[in-house]
Point group: C2
Chain length 194, copies 2
Amino acid sequence: MLDNFFNKLSKTITLTEADKAIFRQHVSVKRLRKHQYLLQEGEVCKSVAFVCKGMLRSYLVDKKNNEHIIQFAPEGWFISDLNSFIMEDISNLNIEAVEDSELILISKTAHVYLETAVPGFYKFNYMQYRGAYMSLQKRLTDIFMLSIEERYTKLLSIYPDITQRVPQHMIASYLGSTPETLSRVRKKIFVKKD
Amino acid sequence: MLDNFFNKLSKTITLTEADKAIFRQHVSVKRLRKHQYLLQEGEVCKSVAFVCKGMLRSYLVDKKNNEHIIQFAPEGWFISDLNSFIMEDISNLNIEAVEDSELILISKTAHVYLETAVPGFYKFNYMQYRGAYMSLQKRLTDIFMLSIEERYTKLLSIYPDITQRVPQHMIASYLGSTPETLSRVRKKIFVKKD
DNA sequence: ATTATTTCTTGATTCATGTCAAGATATTGG
DNA sequence: CCAATATCTTGACATGAATCAAGAAATAAT
């Protein structure tokens, strides 16, 4: 179960058996069934989650009670409200299981400890934050520059299996659109392909 | 001239005189007059710039020749195309001086060297990337959740002097809108205040 | 299997914002 | 100081997407 996690780290840094032992002592495992929450708005985000199996989503709810999906996290990804986690501030984010999932949780104190006990983990996080920043920058430019249709086809080309795993209205939300509009966009795409 | 830069670093890490000497040897200074470019699309981003004085902006141009402003960088801020800088890939970003500006440039080799020669600099960048990621996340959620009017008033509350330094059509572009729409939004805000 | 729930589609309508165009103001350069 | 350029405003109009509503299809629960 921790192997997924170690594999992930090993793509960026080198992990000794001693390092792994330290991790085993300081992380915990959690299972969530579909629709269960890892974090609900109003709480403080107490841990960073690594998804071993399944999929989570984080989303915000606006004044009109519409959900806006910030992130999907399938196996091999991390998810948290980083701002709430770092600042120990109240979160306005919800993190929910989209499928039955298995997670590895790293608490705040564990995270701080691990970054000094396993220097490679510090480096890993450096790369992680830097990469997350670059990805988010791309997402922002896509939102500015591309139509919903273009964003949808681009998403499918990067994550072809997402339509099998995530209901369409959630994809619409992630793209910054509505279920109705995405449905019509898909119809248009099918017509093109004939 | 380097003092602005050292002050910035000192807010996050402790810098010795020896550290400062190393920086002095490895960074360079550049002046840009208004409308001059630090980076043009098609080039590779060769350095990260710290703005000592003045202001820069980075922007993309879409198929219809509309500009989309990604970032403003007044004094005390960094600007670059991080993806192009790291990957040494061709950039599609333009970085231009909005005012006459004084910059400190850190080249790729200098950046890599400095992160090992001055360990604090590594830590500084860690914090910088992490913070940049969190800020961008907030910007994205604002775009999803707020109307243009709300985004505009929020921007003014955080950067009250921006209207004095940046033409309105650039603010419109930064907010993901058009000059005409922002002009009307402002009119509506003024009416409210009477 | 049958019912209940969730998800997706489709049509009709409204609304916010973009686009085009022209004139007014302000700023900059010679 | 005047001309040239850049910026901002306003009106008329077009358009893409949101909203509302209702039914079809698919999935999950009993």
